[in-house]
Amino acid sequence: MMSIQIISNGSQHMACSQYGSNWAGPDGDRLTVLIALLKEIPAASINLNGFEEHLEFSPSVNVQAIIEESTSWMVDEGANNYLHTDKEAYCVAISQSTDVPNWPDFATKEYDKTMQDDLKVQWKIEVEGVSQGAYVSQAQHTISAPSRLGLRAQIDGERLIWPPRQLNAMGQRIDSEGKQLSETATILTWTRLSAAGAPSEFSNRAPILDGVATVLVEFDEGPKGVFMLADDESVKPEIDARVHFVLRRLYGQDGMMHYGLKAMLSKS
């Protein structure tokens, strides 16, 4: 399940990506590593401790909302679980001490340094750009955060609805409080788009990544959705394969980074 490495030492948990402390992967950063870590350890309250200042780009949905929608953790400035990171390493730590920990030597999965450099440049260009087509506002990202980040489905009679809808056929507003979908699903079909076929948001990164893979999946509870595939550099999706979901960078625009869930092939 995990694409991060965790080293726990009593009440202190440290994590970085599978690529080690120098890179968080093609669509990762300190925030995506943090969310992966929070999902792996018992939930409590956390003091952000200035964490946002260490992110390369401002998220379109604030960090507190991302944490609380994506995990069972709560953000509390009075909590004594302190969040640590620094600008030199793509690592995060949760500790009951206010002191920045000494980062251990994490194992490093081999990666293409040129790709890393190219992607870093393209992310910057992408974030500084504006939409060349359809556009989703920051406000809309915030409105849909419970569904996008927390897989919160609506209940309408016997039906589970995801992504959210407004009215049912009786003209009644469908309650947004519903059921959280399980974080596993089955691939119904998939594609890999070349740069020529990808939306402008992804067109700069697509050539570097050899295309952008998208899967249509069916959740175990019934609703379906489309997600980009994460960490698929050396694997190919198949119909009926199982996936789980991880928080990653989706795209950047208007000076902000948009985060969301991506599907990751589960090991059978």
């Binding site: 060349q132 087509g133 359809a134 556009y135 989703v136 809309q140 849909s144 992504p163 119904l188 079909t189 998939w190 594609t191 890999r192 788009l193 070349s194 020529a196 076929g197 990808a198 939306p199 402008s200 948001e201 992804f202 067109s203 295309g211 952008v212 893979a213 998208t214 249509l216 609703p223 379906k224 959705g225 489309v226 997600f227 980009m228 119909i239 989706l250 795209y251 948009h258 969301g260």
Partner: protein, 389 residues
Amino acid sequence: MVDVAMVGAGQTKFGNHPLGLKGMWAEAIQKAIHSVDNGFDSTDVEEAFIGSIAFGGSQLGNTAALLTEHSGMEGVSVRRVENACASSGFALRDAWMAIKSGQADVVVAGGIEKMNDLSASRKRYWLGVSGDTEWERLAGLTFPGTYALTARRYFHEFDSTHDDLVHVSVKNHMHGFENEVAHLRKQVSFEKAQSGFMVADPLTLYDCCPTSDGASAVILVADHLAHKFTDTPVWVKGSGAGSDHLALHDRPSITQLRATQSAAAKAYKTAGISASDVDLAEVHDCFTIAEVLATEDLGFAGRGLGGTFAREGEGRRNEGSVTINASGGLKSKGHPLGATGTGQAVEMFKQLRHQVEPERQVRDAEIGLTHNVGGSGATCAVHIFGRER
């Protein structure tokens, strides 16, 4: 109830067009007017419906009034109709309903899109603007992607492979080769179409229609005026439309388009015919898999047999059970989004009056059908045309 006759039809060549928006629209209207056998005065037009998505952002509001101003129709009641790639299919339906309802006797329906005059960076404007922006586009999907998802699922569910799509591509390029208004007038071999550049796996370049500039327009009149304009009107015998969820993931099945099924059922019913009566059909083959689905959803092939239909050449001009895309379809004739629906009607006007290039003429064409889809199937308009009322 009033019957509706098409007495004139015209279009620009589809492709990378040298004229601007106003010039293209003027050319389509001029050709439509000149096609009216006994003459036509555009000041007689009471209502106009013009389909377009967005002109690449150059004129987002009051588009239709700008166009009628430049085509001698100042003062006419006009509006833009927008339903993505089905915009002018719905403009045609609105025009048909305006006459059917008795509110107007002379109506213009048309469409226009200018897609190739944008800078390289702005050309991406067109990718994914008509899908579900929030939940599909931002999961990496454009229409090549959504149709690729459909194609792969279709191959999984039925006895079909990518080679069936290659047959569609080869046929439509063959049909469009002789069409003087087609965008891509070149024949394509099976081997070449089989090995095209991968755009969205499993769809290659030869599975995708081009992005075209173009304008098209038709003139519809009430039955009591038809013979004032021509001795050989083409009757709009039936019209139907439907819609479905915008995003693929909300649909019960992605290997059939409920919007098409619904539109076709209504169109057949209003025309009083069935699929087996149709001699030729212009179907919305924005991607080759879309034609395979259309042949099923329109009733020309059974469920899951659209691939077999293509493989066995059933849609070839004057060879199969019904000629599919005699014009070359979107694949070869081109796809100027908002102009495509009425462009299909222009083809039907000429085919049913036996006025196309001799090599392209569908023999004994009496009844034709047009099928215009918006996006990945969220909207669809189907029309039935006939030589007889």
